[in-house]
């Protein structure tokens, strides 16, 4: 799962790759030409024949060619800019992205509030449908960037921006915060899943959290709701409504933990709860080193039911 601007998976990224190759081609030719002229001049000068040459014509010609090429590059850039702006798409899927230190909150919006839902760090999008992201930041400036789908855009506190993307191919695309945002800027990852069965995923996300079945799982929920967890995290359908940290209603359906830092497995999860700073030093989640083994097991068991 790479993040690569050349592996374009949507029209925005494709346009940019096309512009890249044209620009690269022109620049490569210019580079070679300057280098060759320079090496020839060096050879001629080292020979030291010192003829009274008049370099006016070649210098003026080189300048004229440079000017023309620059104007061409400029027009190509403006053309791509316009083409990107026109890729609006009808009936876009609207997602509000709120960047926090150091995770992404995603609110899938629907005119019907009952159909809206919130998730974190992993976006699911349909293939072939325009996506309209509303970008906001909670604390400092971040930048939303999934190179396989398109260019980046800053999320600035106090401002709202929109970014339109679209995936033409099903696949998994990684992104990462691109504006330095403090201690854990490096581990502020994001995964986008583009697939054809977006609707079934969304339907599952709209449901409240699954009810625990075993006694251990029930004890886990009790610990979650009455302990420190609920002060920051929310699980729909329980009394946990914290908003400072990712919504965990369908936590077990996510493949990664801590904004893409580690895989979401029971082992990593237990480690994360006890000592998140060993995985992501400086993260805002407090350590729970005093948690007893059985409590920890119960919590992990409960969180594992949140499909």
């Amino acid at each position: 799962m790479k993040q690569d601007m050349f592996a374009a998976a949507g029209p925005h990224a494709e346009r940019i790759v096309e512009l890249w190759w044209v620009t690269f081609g022109i620049c490569a030719v210019v580079f070679a030409a300057v280098l060759i002229a320079f090496l020839l001049a060096l050879r001629k000068g080292m020979a030291g024949s010192a003829v009274a040459a008049r370099p006016y014509v070649p210098v003026a010609a080189a300048l004229a060619v440079s000017t023309v090429l620059l104007v061409v590059l400029m027009l190509l850039s403006f053309g791509t800019d316009r083409a990107l702006a026109k890729l609006a798409g009808e009936d876009p899927l609207k997602i509000e992205i709120i960047a926090h230190r150091w995770w992404w909150e995603a609110r899938y919006q629907d005119p019907d509030p009952a159909r809206s839902f919130t998730t974190a760090n992993e976006l699911h999008i349909p293939v072939g449908r325009a996506i309209e992201l509303t970008l906001k930041a909670d604390d400092v400036i971040h930048s939303f960037w999934v190179p396989n789908l398109g260019g980046k855009r800053d999320l600035i506190p106090g401002r709202t921006a929109t970014l339109r993307l679209q995936a033409e191919q099903a696949g998994t695309y990684r992104g990462q915060c691109a504006e330095f945002c403090g201690v854990q800027h490096a581990k502020m990852g994001l995964v986008v899943y583009a697939s054809d069965d977006y609707e079934s995923w969304a339907q599952a996300q709209r449901a409240s959290a699954a009810e625990p079945k075993t006694d251990e799982q029930k004890r886990g929920r009790e610990l979650f709701v009455t302990g420190t967890c609920a002060m920051c995290h929310a699980i729909q359908g329980t009394a946990a409504h914290g908003r400072r940290a990712p919504d965990l209603t369908h936590f077990a359906s996510r493949k990664t933990l801590a904004a893409g830092a580690v895989p979401n497995t029971p082992g990593y999860l237990a480690g994360w709860i006890i000592d998140p700073h060993s995985i992501k030093p400086g993260v805002n989640m407090p350590a729970h080193a005093t948690l007893s083994a059985s409590d920890l097991q119960a919590l992990v068991a409960y969180l594992g039911t949140l499909k």
């Binding site: 512009l19 080189a62 403006f78």
Partner: protein
Amino acid sequence: MNPVLEKTWRDPPGVVGMLSSINHKTIALRYLITAFAFFVLAGLAAALMRLQLAKPENTLVGPDLYNQLFTMHGTTMMFLFAVPVLLAMGVYLVPLMVGARSIAFPRMNAFSYWVFLAGGVMLWVAFFFDAGADTGWFSYPPLAGPEHSPGKRVDFWAQMITFSELSALLVAIEIIATVFKMRAPGMTLSRMPLFVWAMLVTAFMVLFAMPAVMFASSALIMDRLVGTHFYNYAEGGDPVLWQHLFWFFGHPEVYLIFIPGLGFISAIIATFARRPIYGYPAMVLALIATAFLGFGLWVHHMFAAQLPELGKSFFTAASMLIALPTAIQIFCWIATLWTGRIELRTPLLYVLAFFFILVAGGLTGIVVASVPLDLQLHDTYFVVAHLHYVLIGGAVFPLFGAWFYWFPKFTGRMMNERLGKWQFWLFFVGFNVAFFPMHQLGMEGMPRRVYTYGEAMGWGTLNFVATVGAVTIALSMLLFVINVFTSYRRGVPAAENPWRAATLEWAVASPPPAYNFDRQPVVRSREPLWELKDEIAENVSGLAEKSREVLITTVVDAFPDHRLPFPKPTIWPFVSAMAVTALFIGSIFTPWAVLWGAIPLAIAVTLWFWPKAEETKENLALEKRP
């Protein structure tokens, strides 16, 4: 050697004498050595970062230290190395090149050095006490604001800006005054060496660029210390205001680092191609055009921020067009080499690296000037590669060339050419190995300013290669230090003009006497030392020898205008600088320091300017009635 002049112009001996010295060459060498020390520190910070990134999930350096390291690296390289080292070359060379006895405002020059030293030392002492700035050399609020960066780290950073900008502004004023009013008679504007033009243009850029960042950093300090809301969006402030102010300085900064480099190149190519640079008027106009355009493209650092699309197009156009003045100069240099008789000595070698490295960096600059491409490449390692190609190719390689070229003038001894060539090739190869792969890393999605990355990202190999390159660069720097030390002690003694160059600094002994010129020369061409071979050199006569007196000439034509008594060495610039330091550092901790700190400062500055009866008598004695 003229003993009378030497006695008049030399700095007093002893420790107090050292602190009092105002000779532009002494101050410039102090600037150069201090800036080089900061270069080494910032380089070591970079080496640590490269070791951390050499493999995925490395744990050599944690995120907190890593963030301090890249902040210290960028801040030090830009504010404490690049700008001061290049201005210092100007402080040393401009008075010599224009045929003057001293730089204008020599006491202010000494003051500016002490302020610069204090600011840099403060930043690094803070770093060693774990209070190193950690919000990047650009320190965007709200991250750098009071809420998200508690503690004193960012305050030290912001106050260092105040120190180093103050010193740069003062040097800029000195250079402008020296160039405009102290040129040798006959050195009209159109006969000025291209290096002097480059320094003049640079000084003007400093004058217009620095106030923006001084305001920005002062506003940041006030937000942090006294609760103003310049950048606080919740109270009507705006974090984007910072970005505009910072980059309105930050982009011209790149060019004011680059333009002295262009000056070095013109000086060195002319000497070793044994002919004047082709297209002098075009070269001068290109420097001025670069400076103008350099102020019109700051927004290309903010394409990903939320700005109007049409406005961005203007900045794309300006960012691309600024390539033209540089292209003009490149073509003129190639024409010069083509029609010259080249002697491939070490200084020329460093300058020629420009044609490979800077041209590559300039072309990637055109790539990131395009909005759509920049939206993919911005804040990735592609930009890290681009900026190092531009700054190292455009300024650092020419600077090393300049160091080899003027070292005999500074010290009276030649640098070792063999070691110099080894250093060059190690540096050149190491540089490309370190920075070329970063283009690819950026396109593969590696963002800047990350302390680690996962193995699955596939960035491990190229990062390892880059680290090998960085180690090679470190080796080349070690060779340089060895070369400087051994050459300084045992190098071949240098005559007045070892390279048979054309400009006036080569007309005086190596190293030059305190008074520079026995008699101020009169200039009749752009290449005075090449023209004067068979003629008797013309000189200015009638200036006092027993007291400091210089000739002031007119701005455009350099006609003799009047004689001006010059200040003597004094300890007060040093004391004033220390008072400023106490005020600046104190104000990090309490706003009252501005009030109480003003008292010692006022006393020191008053004593600095207090007229002395003896000096007045001397000056009156020199007065001539018409």
